[in-house]
Point group: C3
Chain length 132, copies 3
């Protein structure tokens, strides 16, 4: 298992971590199998989405913020970051990518994004590569 | 594969099943690999989120209920539980956790939650532990 | 790894691909392990939900459309399909199913759905079967 750290610089942010995962794959020398990426936090998630136009990330954050606003008289969680917890569960905290010939089998427009919902912070992800 | 049953006691409820998964891991005697937890239902889901303040669960259920209300003149599904189906897909019905040294590699604040959206009911989850 | 193509016929559509996955499982001759289904696109997703009443699919699409409308003055992504990207991430782009005795271990009412959010198009999914 590989542990990598990520630094988010703003409160809500999608960070492309594809190359970080590729690095771990290269270190492992495993050529074919399954890669699990697991976010060890409860106010951040992970998703696979468009790697080209940065406006996609920006739009996604906007839509999520509107669906789950930061402030809400209904929230009771004392830390005040309920919205981050909800968004983390909506995106999910882990993903799997198929590995073949030493390459992540991503579609042409796909990138792997760490989803920060309560930054800036230093975060930790775990990467497991099973195969041979 | 291990099959475990869970009893929900109310209509919408997050139930911490971390210890249930740990039990299956211990029974398997597998020390390192990948654990898949799969909910066999279409009106319940699974998510990994905060294990400390119970208000997080409560707030998450509130936000989901507001985003996908139980009653809605638009719904056509004859069983009347469309909202539960949608919430199940938003949370997802399976999750993976990395296993090392006989321990689930969860972050300090992470718990594994069964998400009941149409209880009370008896439910079934499958746990598969691959590794050695 | 198996690559299968899917043709969506309308803009937003849930397509039951369970039998496509079962086909790949049969071809692989693997009896027990884990099946990963991975959608190689950023405006389509995958989910496991009810396989009986077609109104569930219809209702789910309605709820998603209302939560993330196609038109919105806030969106900046130049292709105009921001909503499809968001819905893809909400459903997720991959899923895992446990395989035993040559059979996908799905619950009685569960089907595997390809979620088209920006069709009609020809789409590609990857299926990996690990085990023996």
């Amino acid at each position: 298992m590989y542990v990598k750290t990520i630094s988010s610089s703003t409160h809500s942010q999608f960070i492309n971590i594809t190359s970080l995962i590729e690095e771990a794959v290269a270190e492992s020398e495993i050529l074919s199998g399954i890669v699990t990426v697991f976010v060890s936090h409860t106010t951040a998630g992970i998703t696979i989405n468009e790697n080209a136009d940065p406006d996609v990330k920006r739009d996604m954050l906007k839509v999520l913020d509107r669906a789950v606003p930061w402030e809400d008289p209904e929230y009771r969680h004392y830390e005040g970051n309920t919205a981050a917890h909800v968004k983390a569960s909506l995106m999910g905290n882990s993903t799997q990518i198929i590995l073949e010939n030493g390459k992540l089998q991503l579609g042409m427009w796909q990138g792997i994004y760490f989803c920060e919902f309560d930054g800036p912070r230093q975060r930790k992800i775990q990467i497991q590569i099973l195969g041979k």
